[in-house]
């Protein structure tokens, strides 16, 4: 079998392609690096300015408004615990990284999802790319990310964006296509334009599904923080990573617990954003 067909030099191709990208788009990559770095650092500094107790109360109130009293209580107790364990600063760094990554996922992912929902061909192209993004092991694109964006928080953000974007795109497509055909027909019958149909009918009706996608993106973004720390991203992930490499089981557990607390808070808060607005059920 081997003699019938020589091995395809895919590795060589990819190497050469990455080299070419690195050289050709150096300026662009540098710009992105500087930009993202300052966004994440600015966010960390900004969040750091808020006194920890005020931050807890604000997040608690948000949880109360969007979810329930129980979640609000959990939020405050969870944050107190993180503060008590001494992970406040890393927690803010993680939050900044995840929020930046998810924000990028959403502002790139939702429009792509809308576009793919309107055109069969776009959807046909987008779907396999999403499959690659979700199944290709993160380490594989982490290495070229270092080439493009140096070591630090930026390759971490980029890797998180790549990994966390697919659910937002997929569920945006699904949400829009799930709008019943008879409702679409009715909007057509009353002479809506394409954008009126999209803005007044499809997007509002798809919103719970899109929000579920964004919620999934947040969760996936959080699951990337340890991997991101391997390329130098600071935060709770770095603490876990350090503990693992130094076999400090207890420390690793503490930092891991802090990640879990943040994950639950973000999940419960974002879970209800889309659903709350569907009044009168």
């Amino acid at each position: 079998m081997e003699s019938l067909m020589p091995k395809l030099p895919i590795a060589d191709w990819v190497d050469r392609f990455v080299d070419w990208l690195t050289i050709t788009f150096e300026a662009a990559f540098d710009g992105i690096t500087v930009g993202l770095e300052s966004v994440v650092e600015g966010l960390v500094t900004g969040l750091g300015f808020i006194p920890s107790y005020l931050f807890m109360i604000l997040l608690g109130l948000l949880a109360w408004k969007l979810s329930s009293k129980g979640i609000a209580l959990f939020t405050i107790i969870g944050l107190l615990l993180i503060n008590n364990l001494g992970y406040w600063e890393p927690m803010l760094e993680t939050l900044a990284l995840v929020l930046t990554a998810v924000f990028l996922s959403v502002i790139i992912g939702v429009p792509i999802g809308i576009w793919a929902s309107q055109s069969k061909r776009v959807k046909q192209i987008v779907t396999p790319i999403l499959d690659i993004m979700q199944t290709m092991p993160a380490f594989v694109y982490l290495i070229p990310a270092i080439f493009f964006f140096n070591i630090g928080v930026v390759p971490g953000v980029v890797a998180s964006v790549i990994f966390s974007m697919p659910p937002t795109i997929r569920l945006t497509i699904l949400g829009i296509q799930q709008v019943p055909a008879d409702i679409i027909e009715a909007t057509e019958a009353f002479g809506s334009t394409t954008s009126q149909r999209l803005l007044k009918v499809q997007l509002p009706l798809a919103m719970p599904t899109i929000m579920a996608g964004i919620n999934q993106s947040i969760m996936l973004g959080l699951s990337m923080v340890v991997i991101a720390s391997m390329v130098g991203a600071p935060g709770l992930g770095a603490d876990v990573y350090r503990a693992v490499t130094q076999i400090q089981i207890g420390k690793g557990f503490e930092a891991g617990l802090a990640i879990v607390v943040i994950a639950i808070i973000l999940d419960r808060i974002t879970q209800n954003i889309g659903i709350k607005k569907q009044g009168g059920n």
Binding site: E188, G191, S192, K200, P204, L205, G280, N281
Partner: protein
């Protein structure tokens, strides 16, 4: 219906679903049946060369079983489905040739639609749903609220404007659908199985309300249904569809009494005629005597006709009462006038009364029941004719329009009695 102004005209509209519409069209022209075309081309014939005119102000019902192409046909009228070939004209403008923008305007200003499954926007309140058609036209908030509230009032949904569709029953949801269509104030209303998803009792209520609304609005309504009773109840004219073809177009009476082929005949054979035919359909010519004549004249007439009583009318054919032979005889002896002996206690029905609602009166009457319009005598109901009509006997059914235009025969026509 008086001035038969054609509002909407459909000219041999054909819709073929599938990949080889041209080949299928060719086969269709050669007269191949639907099944064969499907086998040869993989295409389905949805609508097969449908042609009809709809007059301004009428309710035109398109009726057929599921799969007969009626829903496809109605969607070609506002081009929710583009016909493969054929023309649709509205107010002398060809819809089928219009560009996207023109079509959008027609949908906004000329045609609105009510859907079988309501198709309301679940994230909007009743008021916001009703406003939708106005909103996409860019009409200001105040004005569209005013118009939407007016439409909601028409369908009896005042006070529900801030509810969400899910909080309403099916019947009320469809009222919202109707209000949404009415708010646009279009001349043409397409109703696609609008009441089919409702309970039978609610459906009947909605039919009645639609008829009541229609009597004041005079819209041109194209109503799709699979329910013959519904078609007969609300349709001014009915088009019957089968396998994508229109097999017969006519008034409810024409469809019932003169089915154009076996299919229509089978369709209508189970219809309860008593709920379709009216007193006007089965009444016989009334023999009358003018109230100012003498009792001798009345007596002579009854003798000639071999009857024991006769209806008395004035010069304007207004029904006064009954003259009985015995009374007339006494009057002749005593020298009384007909005015003095007329029996004013008359059993009468309006000519539009359905047979089902007059059985009681007819069966208990000792003399034929009088049929009146605005108290003017139109004819009489003879038991035999009523029963004959129920049995589907064409000979006893009047052509209603001719009857209405004809002056009832009075005694002066009888040639100097």
């Amino acid at each position: 219906m008086n001035d038969k102004h054609v509002k909407l005209s459909v000219k041999s509209v054909t819709k073929i679903f599938g990949k080889q519409p041209k080949k299928a069209l060719q086969l269709l022209k050669e007269g191949s049946p639907k099944g064969e075309i499907l086998k040869k081309t993989g295409s389905t014939v949805g609508v097969n060369q449908a042609s009809f005119d709809v007059y301004a102000g009428e309710i035109f019902v398109i009726m057929g079983l599921s799969g007969s192409g009626k829903s496809t046909l109605v969607r070609t009228l506002n081009r929710l489905i583009d016909p493969t070939v054929g023309e649709v004209w509205i107010d002398g403008k060809e819809i089928t040739k219009m560009k996207k923008d023109e079509l959008k305007n027609v949908r906004r200003k000329n045609i609105s639609m009510v859907f079988q499954k309501f198709a309301l926007l679940p994230h909007r309140t009743v008021l916001e749903n009703t406003e939708y058609g106005l909103e996409v036209q860019g009409i200001g908030k105040e004005e569209r609220k005013l118009k939407a509230m007016k439409a909601l009032k028409l369908v009896g949904l005042e006070g529900y404007e801030n509810q969400f569709p899910k909080q309403l029953s099916g019947g009320m949801q469809q009222r919202v659908g109707l209000a949404r269509a009415l708010a646009n104030d279009t001349d043409i209303l397409l109703m696609d199985e609008a009441f089919s998803a409702l309970d039978p009792l609610i459906r009947k209520d909605m039919q009645d309300e639609l008829l009541e609304l229609q009597s004041s609005m005079e819209k041109t309504i194209i109503f799709i249904t699979h329910d013959l009773d519904e078609a007969l109840r609300i349709g001014d004219r009915i088009a019957l569809m089968k396998d994508g073809e229109i097999v017969q177009i006519g008034s409810p009476e024409e469809i019932l009494m003169n089915p154009s082929n076996q299919y229509v005949e089978r369709f209508v054979e189970d219809v309860d005629l008593s709920k379709v035919l009216t007193a006007g359909h089965v009444m016989k010519r009334a023999e009358t005597v003018q109230i100012d004549k003498g009792p001798r004249v009345a007596l002579q007439m009854m003798k000639d006709l071999g009857i024991s009583s006769i209806y008395a009318v004035d010069k304007k054919k207004t029904l006064i009462g009954t003259i009985h032979a015995a009374d007339a005889k006494t009057a002749v002896e005593k020298g009384q006038s007909l005015h003095e002996i007329v029996d004013r206690d008359v059993k009468k029905v309006a000519s539009g009364t359905l047979l089902t609602n007059l059985f009681d009166k007819v069966s208990t009457a000792t003399i034929p029941v009088a049929v009146v319009d605005n108290n003017r005598l139109q004819g009489i109901l003879v038991k035999g004719a009523v029963i004959g009509a129920l049995a589907g006997n064409n000979e006893v059914i009047n052509d209603l329009e001719r009857v209405n235009n004809q002056v009832p025969i009075s005694q002066s026509d009888k040639g100097g009695v």
